[in-house]
């Protein structure tokens, strides 16, 4: 145990995801040794992010204004909406530069163990968005794990009667990889989702 403030900092850092007690200690001493200006900038960044950043009223993505950049962009197709779990998934999909529609961030996936059901997610907001009829296709891009699949099935069942196209991102082989290194589950999914080759 270190003296009051230092230990306090280590404890706070240790609560961050992916930071264990040892890393927390290392970061804390790095901060202690760092230039006061740098530390000040970090502190400002931390407080600012909490004060300035809000969640987009339409899609739930992080935003600095009422609506996020993507929802404000008139060039984005409002008819296609991609449903993701977290804001960081939006960033991942944006990096592809393939998708020109808009997003809907659920804020997680259905997981009864963690007490997360549809009511804890932004499902109601999604239904409201669909209700006005501009959306024609919903692409469900939740994580390909158990909780993500459950969420996808739930949404699909909920939305299907409303008459729009619901699609799910494909699972399968990573591009540039070797077939022999793929695990059985992934390979099995790749077989299920195989496509006709158009020649």
């Amino acid at each position: 145990m270190y003296e009051g403030v230092v230990q306090g900092l280590i404890d706070e850092l240790g609560r961050l995801p992916g930071v264990g007690p040892k890393s927390a200690q290392r970061i804390a001493f790095h901060i202690l040794a760092a230039d006061p200006d740098d530390v000040h900038r970090l502190a400002t960044a931390l407080t600012e992010v909490k004060e300035k950043i809000r969640f987009c009223t339409v899609c739930g993505n992080v935003a600095e204004a009422e609506q996020c950049q993507i929802c404000r962009d008139p060039r984005r197709d409002p008819a296609i909406v991609c449903v993701v779990e977290e804001s960081k998934d939006v960033v991942a999909i944006e990096r592809t530069r393939e998708f020109r529609g808009r997003y809907h961030v659920l804020g997680g996936a259905i997981s009864p163990i963690e007490g997360i059901g549809p009511d804890e997610l932004r499902v109601k907001e999604l239904m409201t968005r669909i209700a006005d009829g501009t959306i024609t296709e919903l692409i469900i891009a939740t994580d390909p794990n158990l909780e993500g699949e459950a969420t996808a099935t739930y949404l699909a069942r909920l939305v299907q009667p409303m008459g729009l196209r619901v699609t799910r991102l494909a699972s399968g082989l990573p591009v540039g990889g070797d077939l022999e290194y793929a695990d059985e589950v992934t390979l099995g999914r790749a077989f299920e989702g195989r496509r006709q080759l158009d020649v």
């Binding site: 259905i110 059901g117 549809p118 909780e147 739930y154």
Partner: protein, 387 residues
């Protein structure tokens, strides 16, 4: 296959061990509490990523140490093949890290199948006398040893089950507080039902196929272990898979049919499940019923018959894995002390042909002479090869 070299760091009582081993029989002899079983437990851990003695990993790590390392070099029967080096790092409370031929693997379970063992231990008696959970574990471990991909199937099922149980529990609480209106949680239960049915059917089908495969092997092994000159001849040992879906469901390893049956059973039991807050059907509540002649073994078999049947189950595992191409490593942990002379002799006769047999015994005289081979005296951390 055989274990050519075993290294341990901070595993159980051992700060460090380097132990070269040969094919054939090796007997570890030493007084109780000296660490004989720890050695074979380590080899078993590489094969199953679990201990046959404890459910948690914490006791496997030496007191005061942060993590334990088990490393083994496995030689194939075919001498020209290169030996594989498997290593697993056990840190209680965290995911194990494993390496295969010095390169890290993504998930520890990817090393399953490199080492295959069949382990006989005094605890095996609970296969016959114990709870259904013991027999489910027997089936699942054998399933994974036979086809390692079932480790994933099993853990997927357990994960769905956990989620569904959490939902049932909260739905039950909600239903009680809102006087039976069902509560808002129920809207996702159908989805978990579907996932449980799919994962459950996969596991169930695999278990049914396995039971069909070992049924004749167990019957044959039982005759060999229990059969003696004494009359009357021993009864026939039989295995029947008992599903939690009840006797009306036909159990064929057809995944689609099983998934439908599970869905059906869940919808019939929905009210009970919500009341009790647990999943009441599925492979996690099934049993493997063992019988001798017309009577169930549990509750009816004598101590001697129970032992014969437990040994028959393990011998059947050995026969099944052997038929895959190479002999699994056979481990006999303290079993001879539990058996009478005639069973000892017959067991020794049946396992004597295995490529590698590792035996632990407190008293060397307990081990039948037929299992003659290398002997290592174990006294604390001192392992001494006896010529």
């Amino acid at each position: 296959m055989y274990v050519a070299h075993l290294s341990l760091v901070d595993f159980r009582s051992y700060p460090q061990v380097e132990l070269p081993l040969d094919p054939g029989v090796t007997t570890f002899v030493g007084p109780n509490g000296q660490g004989k079983t720890n050695l074979v437990e380590a080899i078993g851990y590489l094969a199953t990523l679990g201990s046959h003695r404890v459910a948690q990993d914490a006791p496997l790590v030496r007191v005061d140490a942060e993590r334990a390392i088990v490393r083994a070099s496995i030689s194939a029967t075919d001498q020209t093949a290169r030996p594989s080096l498997v290593e697993v790092e056990i840190t209680p409370g965290k995911a194990n890290r494993a390496r295969l031929n010095r390169s890290p693997v993504n998930r520890a379970r990817e090393i399953l199948g490199v080492v295959r063992t069949v382990l006989f231990a005094p605890e095996d008696l609970s296969l016959v006398k114990g709870d259904p959970g013991e027999r489910r574990r027997y089936l699942d471990e054998l399933l994974v040893a036979r086809a390692p991909r079932y480790a994933g199937v099993r853990s997927d099922y357990e994960r769905v089950l956990k989620q569904r149980n959490a939902l049932l529990k909260s739905a039950g609480t909600a239903a009680r507080s809102t006087r039976g209106s069902g509560g808002p949680d129920l809207q996702t239960l159908d989805i978990w039902d579907a996932h449980l049915a799919r994962a459950g059917a996969e596991l169930l089908a695999a278990r049914l196929e396995l039971v069909d495969a070992i049924r004749p092997l167990v019957a044959k092994a039982y005759q060999s272990v229990a059969g003696s000159e004494a009359s009357p001849a021993p009864a026939d040992a039989r295995l029947d898979y008992k599903s939690s879906m009840g006797p009306d469901v036909t159990l064929t390893p057809d995944r689609e049919h099983l998934a439908d049956a599970l869905t059906q059973a869940m919808s019939e039991l929905r009210r009970d499940e919500i009341d009790r807050g647990v999943s009441l059907v599925g492979p996690h509540r099934d049993d493997l019923v063992l019988s001798l002649g017309p009577l169930p073994a549990r509750g009816y078999a004598s101590q001697g018959e129970s032992w014969s049947l437990a040994l028959a189950l393990r011998l059947a595992s050995f026969d099944l894995l052997r038929s895959l191409g190479s002999d699994p490593v056979l481990v006999l942990d303290d079993v001879f002390a539990e058996l009478d002379t005639s069973r000892r002799e017959r067991l020794a006769e049946l396992v004597g042909t295995a490529e590698q047999v590792l035996v632990t015994a407190a008293v060397a005289d307990d081990v039948p002479e037929r299992l003659d081979g290398a002997r290592i005296d174990v006294l604390g951390n001192d392992l001494r090869r006896v010529a």
